[in-house]
């Protein structure tokens, strides 16, 4: 069991490794969505970064038809089709099915989803955001691409062990706003923890594969592609935090990937900037900054 959970530990960050999807986004950069469900869902879709992992861009796959290979030491995961296709996608899922999958990591047939899908973060999404997201996904062209079975070897392929992991590391459901904090802070926390799932890469993991809450956003020595992921707490030490970045530095980084010394983010964060943070409104980027400012420094 311990080995399995360690496996999960190593597998999760790898979920973000690999190539990138360049399909055009539905929104112009920085636009606030209209108030209908599909438009709101498009914004949620960007903020949650669904496109990258669910598209086999390098292999020329259709957007969201899945098949992106996530290579891990335990085998290779292939992300599933999340288009409206009734057979291979999510076209037949009820609203309750969709909420259960994203919030609890359980498929409509009752099987547990591997935590390569970051539902431990997405679980905090509100009902409305989840349903808007579903409405948006179903508004996009369906692709009949069949799901590729994961190429895992036992015991990592044993789905029946996943609920144990969930019991240890999943606290299902949204987190209530903190009334002692301004709305921007609460919005920022939601963007960082629920939608952006930042901690999935920026926090280290325990030996059992859960996020190490004592080292929240303190950096991860083993991130995607085995890269070292920098900390983003208030620490002023280089690579440990953003304490010496100005608000303007942070906002510009989220918008354009540009660091204070003129470098431009690449790798997994480059993809995040391209697919997610550059597509948020300036207010939402400012909310992220407001929230990150209050994350206690960890050296």
């Amino acid at each position: 069991m311990r080995r399995v959970l360690t496996a999960a530990a190593l597998l999760l960050p790898l979920a973000f490794a690999g190539g990138s999807a360049r399909a055009a986004g539905p929104l112009q950069t920085g636009e606030a969505p209209a108030n209908d469900s599909v438009s709101r869902g498009a914004y949620i879709f960007n903020a949650a970064g669904c496109l990258g992992c669910h598209t086999d861009e390098k292999g020329g796959g259709q957007p969201l038809a899945g098949g992106r290979a996530l290579a891990t030491p335990f085998g290779t995961f292939y992300t599933p089709n999340i288009t409206a296709d009734p057979v291979n996608g999510i076209g037949r899922w009820s609203d309750a099915d969709f909420i259960r999958a994203v919030r609890e990591g359980v498929r409509p047939d009752g099987a547990a989803l591997f935590p390569a899908f970051p539902y431990a973060s997405y679980t905090r999404m509100t009902d409305r955001d989840l349903l808007d997201l579903k409405a948006y996904l179903l508004s996009l062209p369906a692709a009949s691409t069949a799901n590729k079975p994961h190429d895992l070897s036992p015991p990592f392929s044993w789905r029946f062990l996943v609920p144990v992991w969930q019991w240890m590391y999943l606290t299902p459901g949204p987190v209530a706003d903190d009334p002692s904090r301004p709305p921007a802070w609460n919005r920022g926390r939601y963007l960082v923890d629920a939608l952006g799932h930042c901690a999935e890469c920026h926090s280290p993991r325990t030996q059992f594969g859960g996020l190490d809450s004592d080292r929240y956003l303190a950096g991860n020595p083993q991130g995607p592609d085995n890269d070292k992921v920098p900390g983003i707490t208030g620490s002023k030490a280089k690579g440990k935090g953003i304490g010496d970045w100005s608000d303007g530095d942070l906002a510009l980084f989220l918008e354009a990937g540009l660091t204070p010394d003129g470098d431009v983010a690449g790798g997994a964060m480059g993809e995040v900037v391209r697919n997610t943070t550059s597509k948020l409104t300036a207010e939402d980027r400012a909310a992220i900054v407001a929230y990150l400012r209050t994350v206690p420094a960890k050296e």
Partner: protein, 161 residues
């Protein structure tokens, strides 16, 4: 213009052309030290980053003057006009000195060229935006330029640990 002047000019341009050709072939055939080439690339990227950083400082209103920003944009434009083959000569992938360039950069050379050729038009727009002095316009052009940097960094740069 007298014939004589024309002749002199023609001779000079032929000489210049020969020099250029000779110089180029010498550069290509010369046994350049890959470690040196990596170092040169890092200097080039530093110049590029320094330019971007100066414009960013101006955009953020954090101490850089309009003149600093103009100089920064000039540096970015100058680098963008360089030949990508010279910046990324073969044999300088990760493993050579502290190179951070993935071998895929050369394997997908057409992609690399496409990425690189997007930098100059963006840098020209950035340069033009700076001349307007309009901070919002500059910010937008800066974002567009950094996007062109990011595409290559995302696909072909090894993250340094």
């Amino acid at each position: 213009m007298s014939n004589r002047v024309v002749n002199v000019l023609a001779a000079a341009s032929v000489a210049g052309l020969m020099f250029t050709l000779f110089g180029m072939s010498a550069g290509a055939a010369g046994a350049a030290d890959p470690a040196e080439q990596v170092k040169d690339r890092q200097q080039t990227m530093k110049k590029l980053g320094g330019g971007m950083g100066a414009v960013a400082k101006f955009v953020k209103n954090e101490g850089a003057t309009a003149e600093d920003a103009a100089k920064g944009a000039e540096a970015v434009l100058a680098v963008s006009k360089m030949d990508v083959k010279k910046i990324f000569p073969e044999g300088t992938a990760v493993g050579v000195a502290d190179s951070a360039a993935k071998p895929e950069l050369w394997k997908n050379w057409a992609e690399t060229q496409k990425y690189w050729s997007a930098v100059q038009p963006a840098a020209e727009k950035l340069d033009a935006a700076i001349k307007t002095g309009d901070r919002a316009q500059i910010a937008q052009a800066l974002g567009a330029t950094s996007k062109t940097c990011g595409s290559c960094h995302e696909d072909f740069r090894v993250k340094k640990n």
